[in-house]
Amino acid sequence: MSLDTTDRSRIDQIPISWLLYHEGQTCCLESRQLIVAKFQQYPDVGSQLAAIPATFRWGPTRWPAYWCDLLEPKELVADCGVHANLASELLWAAGIEHKRGRAAIAAGRTSVAHWNATWNEADASDAWLGEDVVHHEVVKVGDRWWDATEARWFSGPGAALVAGIVVAVREADGEWELLSRS
């Protein structure tokens, strides 16, 4: 398992996801207030972050995405970029320093085929999907990595997530930390 140059090049071209605001309108400010209020009912940051994927089931998001888009569908769905963006909002609100980041995950072709079909049906970009290595947005808090979609800490390259094995990870503007071949 490793991050080859093709996957690295593909992933490096994917921007970190930021939810946008409709200029001159209150819709996105209002939606952001409602969304943040959903999580701030929880008393501690860990619970707030854990509530993100429980509230917004992981699934396709069409980018660029606006805050007011999130509350539109009957079933609340969001991808890892939204999850990481929301986690970042809550961490800032709690005064916790952190950085956005990205991971490359060896997920396996069987899983990738399902995600490819689902993202295409939703007319969402599948640029995050390689043949078996996928791009995943994460957050770094101190020297630990937080997966906002799986709501769990992970140690970095080599860590096992439900989605697969982390083969590489980097801060948004940092260098890749690669899985040791040993």
Binding site: C27, L34, A37, Q40, Q41, Y42, G46, L71
Partner: protein, 763 residues
Amino acid sequence: MPIRTIVISGMHSGPNPSPGVGLARSLRAARPDLRIVGADHSPASSGLHDEVLDDVLRFPGWDEIHEDTWLTQMADLVADEETALLPTMDLEVRLLAVGLGEHDRILAPSKSALDVVRKPATAVADALGMTTARFERDTTRAAVERFTRHAPYGVWVKGEHYEAFRAHSPEEALAMGAFIEEAWGGSWHLEEHLPGQECGLAFSARDGVLLDAIFTTKALVTPEGKTWSGDISEISDDLWRRLSDFVADVGWNGGGEVELIRTWTGGLIVMELNPRFPAWIHGATLAGANLPATIIGEPSTRGARTLGPGFTRVVHEIAVRPELGLPAFPWGPSDMTAPASKHPSGMRALGRRHLLVGDLPVRSSFSGGAENVTAHDDEVTSPRRVLARSHAFEADLTSPDGGAATPRREIFPARLEAQVAALRAELADLPNVLIAHSIKTCPHPGLLAVAARLGLVAEAISLDELDAGIDAGFDVEKSILNGPAKWWPERPEVRCWAFFADSVAELEQLQRKLDDGFRLHTEVVGIRIAPRSVVSRFGIPMERPEEIARVAELVRDLCERLGADWGIHFHHAESVLGPERWRREAAGSLALADPLTARIGKPPAVVDFGGGWHVDDLPLVRESIAHVVKWGPAVLREGSPTLVLEPGKLITEPAAAIVTRVLIGSKRNKGCEVVVDAALGDLPEARWRGHPVARWTGTEWAALREGRDRILGRSCMETDLLVGNVDLTDVGEGDHLAFGLCGAYDLSMAYPFGRGRAAEGLR
């Protein structure tokens, strides 16, 4: 002399397994030639059938053993210098330590070491540089109520010897505590539940020398919270040093497991220390660290090993040993199927035999204890404490010697005045605050008049209530209407200062009523917001922009039609939520004032914080409001709305008491009980919270203390239990007793059951 035979106890292997099978597998992996004997007290202990065992030893169930005979058998087992005993059941370990003392070939800690690690594990936490969860050993109803109210995630009810249950209410906690006492014997205490990841620190030691240790972070747990899979890692050098010092200080022998919670920020909290290896210990062996092997003389591999990532359990079936057979299906007294249990051999019976005694070292870690002053705090260290927070109510009671009829209610207007003054002092630095008197909570005419005279505003949930308030002297121009049916009974015209609609349907109905000629004079059109995480039938939920838009549209329209400002109201009883949860709920719910402000076009003129405050929480009111101002909507910080507080029972509970007489007394199990001439109808809150009780000694009223006795109401209802866990040693037939803190719902919700009268009010 090398150990050639080892006897391991605790062989049950079910969803909640004992450690025996895992230990046998680890020892077999280290020493294929070792003779391993599985010992247990029931053939229903499934691990006895595992082929890893060379032999099995069956003892009678724990409820059948003869203590001296069992100790003799245990001593005989280890009489052979090549045989060691590895006990794995907590109570068994303690019983061996007490009965046989220290022994070279009993691979378990000594009595003195066990005394150090009693729950709550404060000594362990100190030694490891960690903390414990907050705990409370005082199991009187008042203390349990207080601790539970201040534990926003719920509490654990933990037995001295075994068992832990999670509870979310005082009733649950008390019931579970009673169960633990009954099932296991010994005492119990409360610990605050902490959200986090379950971890474990397993270690092995001989004679005070730490041999090996590893750390696990549990990945999967069973519904009972038992480990199913986890990762395995080495412990830090610092933790190794601290653990080594602790093991040396207490002279630890055998295995041990420190149960830990890792918080989201990474801190470790000690839950308890188990005096034996954990049941998952073979998972560590499979990952590369065979701790059990070290206590039979094999060298530790620490420092020279690369651990695998972890372990997981799987379920597989094995054949039953013919010589043991399979006990038949155990029929119970009901039609429920008896599930596999961790204690098929009757371990609970051992607990009930009270073979283990000792002093309790620490009483409470509850930081709020000293702040919540009671009239009897000087008796906090007494082994038998006063029954409940009395607020010194007995000082106001009159002498019963005049022969006044019982049961009767005594009213203390000065108490209401004092509570209001104290609350005002708390809120002195807040501008624009109104204190409302909840009429439904305390509709006593005399107390209503006092509240009106003190300048409180009336808060009513019906127009009948509002009438009562006006009759008592409240200013209608400053009255507040709340609840889902505030316009009942129907009137052509209503005057109030503010109302808070409970639903969108109510706002829409009000529009129609106004269209039909209803005349409403109000300064504030308000809405009650639904709580965010508490299930409630009340309030308007607003999760999506279209819901905000609809509410804002209705409020704006009504404000224009009535020439009024708008307001927002949060209410969920603080006495139920506790201060920490209340703050969170209030801040989260009222946060919707910001998007509503944007839609309505102006900030709220009134923010109502609701009521139902616990009488003990008066010193926390200001702090709670400050929290909501800080973390709630920006309009609270940037604007200057009028703040309304509906303290309810906080100000009225101390203003009444009920005096009763003992009709009859009788013995009951270990205590006694009396029937009094008051009943649940006179004291309806008795089902939900403890009341302080005082006894007339002939010269004064004296507070009763906790005990094993109970006071029953005179009615024929099974639920007519007024007070439990009270000491009635000096109480006899004809004595006068008094219940305090009866000035709230005990007053407004009382009913005349058992007096030959129908309830009044309905015509």
